[in-house]
Symmetry: C2
Subunit: 252 residues, 2 copies
C-alpha cells in the first residue's frame, strides 16, 4: 500500500469522526476520580503520541495543568530534549557538497512560540479564533522557542539547507519574515506558505505535497521538526521526524 | 515516495547510527542539573514520541523514575487512556458482515505485561538478555495489561476480527497461547509469530510485511495497538495506530 493511500485513509477517518458529530472525548478512568493531574498527564500522553486523534479544545478540567506545564520548566525541558535528539541525529549525517541535505521546520510552536497569545486565550481551552490569532500574527512579536533557535543555528553551521514549511498563508509572508527576524532566525533557503491552491487542504496533505516537491527537486530531507503530527506524517516524510510538545491545539 | 522507501531510509539511518558506534545519548540540559525527575520526564516524552530513535538501555539516572512510573498509577492511567482513545475510534467504525474489519494487537507490553520480569531486571536499565527473557516467557505467567484486556473484549463484542502480531518466534507458540489464555484472552483470528524466514528482520519490516499480507487477504486494518513505534509504523499501517506506553525498552 502506498503512503498516499494510507494518508487518504487517515484523513477519511479523521473527517468521518468529525462529520458524525460524535466528538472523540477521552473519558476520565473511573479509578482516577479526584486525581485530575494524573488524568491530565495521561491526556497529554494521548495527545503527544497522536492516540487522541482529532480534538478541538483541551479538556476543561486540564486548563490549570496545561497552564502549569507551559509556564513551568517542563515545556522548555521537553522542547530542549527534542532539540538534543534532533542534533544527535543531525551529527550522524554526512553533509554532501551539493546543498541538498535538507531539514524542514514548521514555524508556530516549533521555531516561534505563541505562548503570549495563548496565555490570554485559555491555553487551548477556547475554540480557535482565526481573526483573533491573525491579529497576533500581524504583531510579529512571537518569541523564539529557545531550544529550537539553538538547534536551527547549529544545523545551519553544520551545512543543512533549511526549509520553513508553515500552515500560514501567503498574505502573511511579510509579517512572518519580520517575526522570524525579530526572534533571531535568518538564512533559510525557502519559506513555504499556503498559496491559493493550498487553501482548504488538511495540513498533512499540504505539507506532504510540499515535501514531495522538495524531494523531486533532489533534496534529501533528513530531519523534520514540528509540533503537530500533521507536520511530520503523510508521505515524503523525513528520515527522522521530531515531535515538539504542544498540548494546546491539534491541526489535522 | 512509496512508504517502503521511507521505511528503508528509516532503518538505514537507525542502523548507521548504531554502526558508527556513536550512541545517541540524550544529554542532560544544563538548566536541569539537580532536577533529575524533570529530565527523566522529558526523556520519557522523547521515547514515547519516537524522538529518541534507537536506544538500548534507559538512562541510569532514570531508573527510580521509571520504577515509580511503572509501579504507581501513571502507567495504568496512560494505558487506560490509550484504550479509551482506541475504543472511541472503534465506535466510529461500521462493521461489515464479511468479517474483514480487523484490529491488530502486539503482545508484549500491549496485551501482556512483563513487568514482573522487568521488576527483577532493572526496569530496562540492564541490557536485554534473550536467554533470561525466554525463560520468563516459558513460564507463561505474564498478566494482562488490564486496560488492554478490557479493550480486547469490547472490540470482540463489536465484531472486529482480531489478529495478534508479535515479535516472538514460532517455537514460542505453545507457551504464548498458554499465557494468553492464562491472562484471559481468547477467540483471536490468528496468532502471527516470526517464522524462520522472518528471523533477523527488524520488527518494523517483519510487522509491515505481515500487515501487508492481511491487507492482500482483504482485511481492512482499522486499528493497531502496540507499545513500540515499530509495531505501528512502516507500511500497510492501520487507519489509526495506538501507542501504548513503554519506557523500558526499544525495538527497531
Amino acid at each position: 500500500m502506498a503512503a498516499s493511500q494510507v494518508l487518504i485513509s487517515l484523513i477519511f477517518f479523521c473527517f468521518i469522526s468529525h462529520a458524525i458529530s460524535r466528538p472523540i472525548i477521552i473519558r476520565l478512568p473511573s479509578y482516577q476520580r479526584g486525581d485530575n493531574d494524573s488524568y491530565c498527564s495521561s491526556w497529554r500522553f494521548s495527545v503527544e503520541t497522536n492516540n487522541a486523534g482529532c480534538w478541538t479544545t483541551i479538556p476543561s478540567s486540564c486548563k490549570s495543568y496545561v497552564e502549569e506545564y507551559l509556564n513551568g520548566n517542563k515545556y522548555l525541558s521537553d522542547s530542549e530534549v527534542t532539540a538534543l535528539d534532533s542534533l544527535a541525529f543531525a551529527e550522524t549525517i554526512q553533509i554532501g557538497g551539493d546543498g541538498k541535505d535538507a531539514w524542514v521546520f514548521d514555524i508556530d510552536e516549533t521555531l516561534l512560540s505563541n505562548l503570549p497569545y495563548y496565555r490570554i486565550h485559555g491555553y487551548g481551552s477556547e475554540p480557535f479564533n482565526e481573526l483573533s490569532f491573525d491579529k497576533w500574527v500581524d504583531l510579529a512579536e512571537a518569541p523564539a522557542l529557545p531550544s529550537s533557535l539553538k538547534l536551527y543555528k547549529k544545523l545551519k553551521e553544520k551545512g543543512f539547507t533549511v526549509f520553513l514549511l508553515t500552515g500560514r498563508s501567503e498574505y502573511q509572508r511579510n509579517v512572518t519574515v519580520k517575526n522570524l527576524a525579530f526572534a533571531g532566525y535568518s538564512e533559510w533557503e525557502r519559506l513555504i506558505l499556503r498559496g491559493t491552491s493550498d487553501e482548504g487542504k488538511p495540513a498533512i496533505v499540504y505539507k506532504s505535497n510540499k515535501r514531495s516537491e522538495l524531494v523531486n527537486e533532489g533534496y534529501r530531507i533528513h530531519g523534520n521538526s514540528g509540533d503537530q503530527w500533521s507536520d511530520l506524517s503523510g508521505f515524503a516524510v523525513a528520515a527522522r521526524s521530531f515531535k515538539l510538545p504542544n498540548p494546546m491545539y491539534y491541526i489535522p
